[in-house]
Symmetry: C2
Subunit: 77 residues, 2 copies
């Protein structure tokens, strides 16, 4: 199975969701991307369909938006 990608921006709700996702899916099955520090990944996330963070992009390309932390517009600042 290829990896999922968890996009977040460092907000408290993101970090809490990150811990839950890593526990559930397994740390080896998910890449964590912090869009606040890795701004070059923002366009990649948008192309994947990410509309808000935290979000999990599954290996088959579906996007699960989890809770609602911040819109992509907020992340871009």
């Amino acid at each position: 199975m290829s990896k999922s990608i968890f996009y977040h921006a460092g907000c408290p709700v993101c970090v809490s969701a990150e811990h839950d996702i890593v526990n559930l899916v397994g740390a080896s099955n998910v890449d964590i991307v912090h869009l606040g520090s890795e701004t070059s990944k923002i366009s990649e996330a948008e192309r994947a369909g990410v509309k808000s963070v935290p979000a999990l992009v599954t290996p088959n390309g579906n996007v699960l938006h989890i809770n609602f932390g911040a819109s992509m517009e907020d992340v871009k600042g």
Copy 2:
């Protein structure tokens, strides 16, 4: 590890998220509850903190609201 509980109400976004969650977490690690057919579970879901479906309640009691399908008010009809 105890099981997670995935609450949904049969809407298309719920079913899509259900497939993703089962694939990611593993079918043996998650109980699926359809609040549309098991209306007696609605109060249990609300006590767990579920505010909209689909939602995943993790073994440690955190609630991950996934995308946004329907509010609990809509589920109650």
